[in-house]
């Protein structure tokens, strides 16, 4: 693995994403028992653009999309980013192992696709942050 850092990174991200989906599955929105608090709300006492995101993820993984949308309107968008990334890790790892000649291009393609996907899915958050900083 040390000789193939790309595969090691993909493996770590896959494990992280499994934990992320597990976290959403174990803790439910109805019980409201998510252990990670909103640090922003804890400090300022104000609601923010990401408030209700954990509860939204818990509802998405249970198929309650309408309820998920009510908790946070960007929940589905952000969840989709992690969901697509989960499959991309398998896909790019597969190509990396079996198409050895194109390894360099696979890493570059992965980077570009991931950046574009990130900007697309997190766009409202980026806009919100830029406006909050520039005020």
């Amino acid at each position: 693995m040390k000789n193939r850092p790309y595969l090691a990174i993909n493996l770590v991200f896959t494990v992280f994403l499994v934990f992320f989906f597990g976290y959403s599955l174990i803790f439910s929105s109805h019980a409201d028992n998510h252990p990670i608090p909103s640090f922003y709300t804890e400090i300022t006492g104000e609601e923010t653009i990401s408030s209700g995101l954990s509860r939204s993820f818990s509802d998405i993984i249970r198929g309650n999309f309408k309820s998920a949308n009510e908790y946070n309107i960007y929940g589905i968008r952000v969840f989709l980013f992690f969901f697509i990334q989960f499959f991309l890790r398998f896909l790019f790892s597969f190509f990396y192992i079996y198409v050895a000649a194109a390894r360099r291009y696979i890493v570059i393609s992965d980077s570009i696709i991931s950046i574009v996907l990130f900007v697309t899915c997190f766009w409202p958050f980026i806009v919100w942050q830029v406006s909050a900083i520039s005020i």
Binding site: P5, F16, S50
Partner: protein, 155 residues
């Protein structure tokens, strides 16, 4: 002739890159910016150690530099959140202070609403009384002069 690159610093570099990449989305989400700050700072520390290891052992530096860049980016975004939050809190405090001032002004206005009118009335009454007093004095003086004149005439 170039020396062959080794795997020196690669393990730490991988760990730093993972932390750095994770720090960026976590920093963008306001609720998790503290986690991003921890990941980012740890990533910077790990990639710095990995870079020095790679320099000593002639290791590949591309991955480590990428880790350093991602960690710095994540830390910067999280720090900006912290700063903007401070700014937000300052704006909120200023807003609350202004609200308090407005409330205080309203209370003063309510408390002293009839006060001015009452004072004016009191002053008017006082002036009238004084004028009356003055009039009485004048009358008394005139009567006194008349009496004196009458007395002189009689003499």
């Amino acid at each position: 002739m170039d020396k062959q690159t080794t795997t020196a610093g690669q393990g730490l570099g991988i760990a730093a890159l993972v932390l750095g990449i994770l720090a960026i989305p976590l920093a963008i989400i306001p609720c998790t910016f503290i986690v991003a700050l921890i990941f980012g700072i740890t990533g910077i520390a790990l990639s710095s150690v990995a870079l020095s290891q790679a320099n000593r052992g002639n290791g590949a530096k591309g991955l480590i530099i990428a880790a350093l860049v991602c960690s710095i980016l994540g830390t910067t975004i999280a720090t900006l959140w912290g700063l903007s939050m401070n700014k937000g809190a300052r704006v909120a405090r200023r807003f609350l202070r202004q609200e308090f001032r407005n409330d205080l002004d309203k209370e003063f206005e309510k408390a002293f609403k009839g006060f001015g009118e009452d004072m004016e009335e009191a002053f008017d009454d006082l002036e009238e009384d004084l004028e009356e007093e003055k009039g009485k004095d004048l009358e008394d003086t005139l009567l006194r002069i008349e009496k004196e004149l009458d007395n002189k005439n009689e003499e």
